[in-house]
Assembly symmetry: C2
Homo-oligomer: 404 residues x 2
């Protein structure tokens, strides 16, 4: 199949591009490279050095003989995007091209607006481009489990059967997102559902859990094929951050009481889920939702898992509870369904001590690059950020596409 | 109270400004005047001639002795908006300042993006301005009954108690909006609910039904105090359009089978609902939803009501079913609650033949101004619009603020 991967420069976009290419699909990798600029704005970077997109696709060709086409493009530019869709007429578009950090979206008004503009308008542009030039294309959209929030009832996959005053209907699952970023994904979901209903487009919305891990079989083929690894307060996901804290001998910092429970997924399962979704498209006009995660943990439990994995090697790790920068329930019911991708054939990699250990070893090999000052939370849900983070315009833009 | 009315140049914004002023509130009327530009773009106009905002507030002062302050401002400009909120520190902000036409939002990609950008980003800017300078201000936000769509269960006011797999929670009512405009209101609702939860802002979201009628006690005081009256395919609401069709001796055109059932409200009740809401604010941190309508009708029934009102005067009116430009259910269950505004003291004006007759008489006095070519639907939900409507940029912008 011909597949366009939007957001192909990111943590998951790049491994997905390679994985689909390795599976025999013709992949067009598209990105605006804004993620690298946001690093400059936030004073953050990828712990593992990453190559420019040009180097990556050249290296992929050299190592595998397969071609990934690379296109620099911003989804906010509707004309360019429509031209791209018209030129390639893809069978599937995998859409990662969104600002994906909750803390970034909470820095202040500029970042909240930037997040919702980039994500919602970018996706709107994509929907119109698909209607215009590729109405049978399958839109594989990355959503987030964070769209659901933490309701006191079981979380279903996108829709819920409700009985009310003696009548029944199957309705979109009520959403209670917890940041301007998560809100943007809820807005997208509503827009996409509508476009499927009105225009007969087809889409799968993948409500993904928190991703952890650093490597897939493809990223391990060559150092220039690595994907980014974030551990800071803005872009780092919680388990990756814990691994970095463990590797540099710092305490693992748990936000608040630590009972915040979420769905988690390993990066190797992410790329497999995308593959399964692309290869099993919905019917024309169908909008379906898969919850894309494999296990639930509380952030406190995860810290304990890291401590246990270290203890096997005789290493003691401290766990420290710090004030929670987020406004969220710290003890709550959480039971989210995640059956549909299993039904398609996903065989999950469950979290093991060996995975934690391998991530920590990878971090240790790059520990001289760790910037400890970027780990502690700088963005409060209540007050936003102060200082440098809140004034991104004062900083010069990054050289787009340079190796970090 | 000091009240800022955003969108004060519109069909409802101007009567609301006068009504709140007449009730003794200090009103600041704010608008970008974009609505008058959209008229030029769409080839539409107000059937009743309307004065410039400067004339209106001067006339209001001359007739009543009361001051309405007039400020031209666009909510998309966050700096200006924040300065406005900081200068006046209002007790309440009534927010009508959104692109409010479903057909306009469905013309094409440019209009869908314009609608969601104007509405969602404008409201985001407002939320940040309130947090910054008026965190105890009551945000009275105009939503729409169209956010709910037509579910097969009763529609509640904003939230629904759900029992699922033996557990219970009170959750946001699931939304199934039917146009990019209605979607923008759903996005707003989620953003506002979040801001109340995180920052302790307070807001009432008024999910309003379809408004009809042309006059309030204040608009009748002087011709320069009239509000706009739309009857075309883009801006006209269904009953107002029927009245124009009846007045010029044309058939009433019912879209599709005509079983589309919605909540309706008379314009005099709209301004009273706003007054009741402003004078009964929610608690800090509270986000509440009122369904602001008084009666349910199908669009077919409404046509029959107009025909019956004409028949009293010995006039025969034809009803014609035309292909439905919208994608919507034409026969469906509909039962929406609307108790909360009644509980606050609303005494509804129910639809009467005399109201229909008075609107038709008003139209007849201006029938020389009717542009019949703007009544039939030009925008299809499936295909958008062709021709002039789809290319707004080719037309010169209107002189802002000129009388139509």
């Amino acid at each position: 199949m011909r597949v366009i991967v939007l957001g192909a420069d990111g943590y998951l976009g790049w491994p997905t591009s390679m994985h689909l290419s390795a599976r025999g699909h013709d992949v067009v990798a598209v990105d605006s490279l804004v993620r690298r600029r946001w690093d400059t704005v936030c004073g953050t970077h990828s712990l593992l050095p990453i190559a420019r997109m040009e180097r990556r696709v050249a290296r992929w060709k050299a190592v595998t003989g397969r071609t990934i086409e690379w296109v620099k493009l911003d989804l906010r530019n509707r004309a360019d995007l429509t031209e791209l869709i018209t030129r390639y007429r893809p069978d599937a578009v995998v859409h990662f091209a969104e600002q994906r950090s909750a803390p970034y979206s909470m820095i202040g008004a500029a970042q909240a607006v930037e997040t919702q503009y980039n994500n919602v308008i970018g996706t709107l542009n994509l929907l119109f481009a698909l209607r215009e030039s590729a109405p049978t294309c399958h839109l594989v959209k990355l959503g987030t489990m964070g769209e659901y929030g933490t309701p006191n009832i079981d979380i279903e996959e996108g829709f819920i059967e409700i009985e009310h005053n003696g009548r029944r209907d199957r309705l979109p699952y009520p959403k209670q997102p917890g940041s301007f970023y998560h809100l943007s994904k809820v807005h997208d979901s509503h827009n996409i559902m509508f476009a499927c209903r009105i225009w007969g487009l087809r889409s799968t919305d993948l409500n993904q859990g928190v991703v952890y891990g650093a490597q897939t079989p493809e990223t391990e083929l060559h150092p220039e094929l690595r994907t980014r690894f974030d551990y800071d307060d803005i872009w780092g996901t919680v388990l990756n951050r814990y691994c970095v804290q463990a590797a540099i001998g710092r305490p693992l910092t748990v936000y608040g009481r630590g009972g915040q429970t979420r769905g988690f997924i390993e990066i190797r399962d992410t790329v497999r889920c995308i593959e399964l979704t692309v290869e099993n498209p919905p019917q024309p006009g169908e909008y379906r939702v898969f919850n894309q995660f494999t296990e639930q943990f509380s952030v406190g439990e995860l810290a304990e898992r890291v401590r246990a994995a270290r203890r096997v090697h005789g290493l003691e790790t401290r766990i420290e509870h710090v004030p929670n920068p987020r406004t969220e329930a710290e003890e709550h019911y959480y039971n989210a369904k995640h059956q549909k991708l299993i039904d398609l054939g996903l065989q999950p990699h469950y979290l093991q001590d060996t995975l934690i250990e391998s991530v920590i070893q990878l971090v240790e090999a790059h520990r001289h690059r760790v910037r400890p000052e970027t780990i502690d939370p700088r963005v409060s849900w209540r007050d936003g950020a102060r200082g440098r983070l809140a004034r991104p315009k004062a900083r010069r833009p990054a050289a787009a596409g340079s190796a970090a």
